[in-house]
Symmetry: C2
Subunit: 230 residues, 2 copies
């Protein structure tokens, strides 16, 4: 649906997102926006990530869903602040929702902000949330041609998490083909294979975050070194 | 995003959908609109269905995606007419797309019309395509709380296909809980468990289609009896 109203909404979103980006820049917070199908395993991926973060890391999570507080409850068990954003029908988060749910949190106090978007490979793609990078999560229980079918998000994501690789022996998914398709859409995309069940790929993923944080201002670096040392 | 423009779009869609419904009613065609996440297994489910239809069934498929003709190629191998609808960015099919892609097909000649929607649990929910019933496809590789998180489609679907049950031994999915959540949202929803790999559930599914067709005009009934006899 291409209508002028959508353009207005996106331009207003961009204004709010730019403000968010400046604030997160000033505080040296690395902010990541996770996008994937419903059931791609975004929440379990973040649970395992929180579990593996070195003590003292100042992380927080915003988790979006149309309905329920289920994910905030799951993610809240790891000792980090978590807030649920309930969109009540909207198929994506927008910058205003993020801004509103960050209220009262001291941005100066955050090294990492994880934003788990609504499960959807289309709608969240157009909405900048002020993040440093979009991360697309694809499960091996889906089809390997998803990058070709939903090119928008694979083009915009810096990193693809190829998730649930513990299921590879039981599904007809060809990982090599998925990587090839992702790179056909976005030649520079980085790819990490993970399983929240076995823990495979998580040290590579923590290393990726540390390297990504180095692109941010120097004040963030010491915190990230502690992650890299895991 | 609740805007008056969306209301106009939906009301125009409803007008076209009503026309489609009348045409399909007149021809005694049972039309089903399949909705599920990317990777829920909709295409494989339809492939197996086409494979199992009794010879002589007059079936056709419209399959929607943002990009690629992949699904039309996969579904075209079973001897039934298949057309791809490429939405080029839109996260759902609409009635106008269906109408346009039915052009040149003789509706009188169809017993069954399968419409595979774009992979998405949100956007396709609001768009009537003139179908007799919506069918939601949920894979056991997703979370069992999807009916609570995406209640709209579970409320509107007559049938839930709980798919990929061959993976149950390898995933933490609790099927009983998924059924309970689906019925909490929609007490009358019917549920069939299937696997395109093992073929489990397909005779029950063909039986469901036959029963559903009996609600349609008498002229459709003889064809459906042949399905029921499989």
């Amino acid at each position: 649906m291409q209508v002028p109203v959508e353009q207005k909404v996106l331009s207003e979103n961009q204004r709010v997102a730019s403000g968010l980006r400046s604030a997160l820049e000033a505080s040296g917070t690395l902010s990541l926006n996770f996008i994937g199908s419903p059931g791609a395993g975004k929440t379990a991926f973040l649970e395992r990530t929180l579990e593996m973060l070195p003590k003292g890391t100042r992380a927080a999570v915003l988790t979006g869903d149309l309905q329920t507080e289920n994910d905030a409850i799951r993610l809240g068990r790891y000792g980090y602040p978590v807030r649920q954003i309930t969109t009540v029908g909207a198929c994506h988060l927008d910058a205003r929702m993020v801004e509103k749910h960050l209220e009262g949190w001291d941005p100066e106090g955050l090294d990492l902000l994880f934003i788990e978007n609504v499960g959807n490979l289309v709608c969240p793609t157009s909405y900048d949330l002020g993040e440093d990078a979009k991360v697309v999560v694809l499960s091996v229980a889906e089809g390997e041609d998803k990058p070709l079918k939903y090119p928008g998000i694979f083009r915009k994501a810096e990193l693809m998490i190829l998730n649930k690789i513990d299921l590879l022996p039981y599904v007809p998914f060809k990982a090599e083909l998925a990587r090839e398709y992702a790179r056909r859409i976005h030649p520079e995309i980085e790819i990490i294979e993970t399983s929240a069940i076995t823990g495979a790929g998580y040290s590579q993923w923590l290393g990726w975050m540390a390297a990504r944080a180095e692109k941010k201002r120097a004040s963030t670096a010491p915190i990230m070194e502690s992650i890299q040392a895991v």
